[in-house]
Amino acid sequence: MRRAPPLPLVGVLLLIALALGASWVSPGDPLAGSADALLPPGSAGHLLGTDDLGRDMLAMLIHGSRVSLAVGLASSGVSLLLGVLAGATAGWLGGWADAVVMRISEFFQTLPRFVLALIVIAIAGPGIGKVILVIAVLGWPQTARVVRAEISALRGAAFVDAARLGGMPAPLIVLREVLPQIAAPVLVLAALDVATAILLEAGLGFFGLGDPNLASWGAMLNEAQQYLRSAWWMSVFPGLAIGITVLLFNALGDRAAAALDPRGA
């Protein structure tokens, strides 16, 4: 029997479609102000109201999805790459290479991610590329640990020996034979990583370290802080957008983990 695609997957795909089509769904510059400041939701032409500079909340939310998704997906992609590379090297080679990679990842795991990201961006200056890089560099150890454990368990497997006897070079064995075997747990981690990265980016935006030229949900919440007493909508809608997006990626990770768990089948 064919099952309907899981809700979280549909939600995530819709969000990505919205982000890609943002300038088509909501044309014009979302950051251009107008005289209609602080209009409540339901006002003519402004379904979700306007902010203190007269900018349309809905347009900013739609365009803000781009920053959240770009940071979430790109940083988790880069950290996936770093984690697989480091974890595969450690797990395959063992010995001192393993020890070095594991000590480094241990060090990274004791670092306070958010506070460090804040300070690096504060010193280096804002920019979406830097944010992606910082979050990725701080996030790879967990993936590396999982990959390392899986690969060192598979290193002596019969199909690996077969490939080796067939004369396949080691990097190719890892890439073609071993990595596909461990794709499932790694992809589950990646989905959860996206959620964490989106929360981190929102926190950076809230601290005023977002890219000033882009609409972002975190920066909207920063702006809302000064208007809590007069404009509740400036806080409620961006927060909901972040919460729903994070919930979707978390649920996607959980669903994938449950679906891929052989004990659940």
Binding site: E106, F107, T110, L111, P112, R113, F114, V115, L116, L118, I119, V120, A122, I123, A124, G125, A195, L199, A202, G203, F206, F207, G208, L209, L221, A224, Q225, L228, R229, W232, S235, V236, P238, G239, I242, G243, V246, L247, N250, A251
Partner: protein, 321 residues
């Protein structure tokens, strides 16, 4: 291995980690765009004599290894630089704010542990029952929401809409009545930020407690205790909680970094006069010495919290030996 030997070995393990954090701080200063002087002094019109003194003190005209040694030397003496934005030594500044942060994080963590364990045990009592489902759904949602937004929502509801609780700052030093009345006033300022900060931990602790409790409840010794006629409360406290404790403590201890990061955001939302708010202000003022001192302090706290967690874990969990 005996316990003192274990603690000693873990302490030895913590030292290189702390040193690595200090070196990382140094590299942030060295790699900062522009003059490293800016990173050491802050983006502030400091007096020329002070700038010249820092240049000599930190050996900025000397090669990198010399500068690193001098920097570490300053840290070892408790010298974290001078904050021109606040006109006082950074060490004094951070020290003054530490109490407020400890009060907030301590309250949040304490209530999160109590509430999380309680909810986790209630959920585990009837696996799949309505309490279980409610706790699981609630914790999934609580885990996805940015805590600073939860803080804003609490302000909107309890301070702006209902007008029950103050939304900004700590109880004023002057004007807070003595005795129990004063405690109530202080608590009214603490309640909202502590709750906003605690929520994620309630979710986390409830989840791990539930997972461990469900496992323990299936064990044969629980069946045996029931057969002996032990009450449900007794089983929960004596058997389940005791067996779940190491896992709960590990989750709490290993999330110390997240707690402090959350505190930075929550203190900013509620204008709470702690280290987190100081971090926000120092970023806004481009006061680099203060930022770097806070980073060092938070990293050291995480290393120490992990160390304490491992020691507690070993004390509680007999299987580790």
């Amino acid at each position: 291995m005996s316990l003192p030997a274990y603690i000693f070995r873990r302490l030895l393990h913590a030292i290189p980690l702390l040193l690595a954090v200090a070196v990382m701080n140094f590299m942030l200063i060295a790699l900062a765009p522009g003059d490293p002087l800016t990173a050491l002094v802050g983006d502030f019109p400091a007096p020329a004599e002070y700038v010249a003194k820092v240049r000599v003190d930190y050996g900025l005209d000397k090669p990198m290894p010399v500068r690193l040694v001098r920097y570490l030397g300053h840290l070892a003496q408790g010298d974290f630089g001078y904050s021109f934005a606040n006109r006082m030594p950074v060490a004094t500044l951070v020290w003054e704010r530490l109490g407020a942060t400890l009060r907030l994080t301590g309250t949040a963590l304490g209530s999160a542990a109590l509430l999380g364990v309680l909810l986790g045990l209630l959920a585990a009592r009837r696996e799949g029952g309505w309490v279980d489902r409610a706790v699981r759904m609630g914790s999934t949602a609580a885990y996805a929401l940015p805590e600073f937004w939860v803080g804003q929502l609490l302000i909107l509801l309890f301070a702006v809409h209902l007008g029950w609780l103050p939304s900004q700052g700590d109880a004023p030093l002057r004007g807070t009545p003595p005795g129990w009345e004063g405690v109530l006033v202080s608590a009214s300022y603490l309640l909202l930020p502590a709750f906003a900060l605690a929520l994620r931990y309630v979710a986390l602790i409830a989840r791990i407690t539930r997972a461990r409790a469900v496992e323990v409840l299936r064990a044969e010794f629980v069946l045996a205790a029931r057969a002996r006629g032990a009450s449900e409360t007794r089983i929960m406290l004596d058997h389940v909680l005791r067996n779940a404790a190491p896992a709960i403590i590990t989750v709490i201890g290993y999330n110390a970094g997240f707690l402090l990061a959350g505190s930075a955001l929550i203190e900013t939302v509620f204008g709470w006069p702690g280290v987190g708010r100081l971090l926000f202000d120092s970023i806004a003022a481009r006061d680099t010495p203060t930022m770097l001192a806070i980073l060092l302090m938070v990293s050291a706290t995480v290393v120490v919290a992990n160390l304490l967690t491992d020691v507690m874990h070993r004390l509680l969990d007999r299987r580790v030996h």
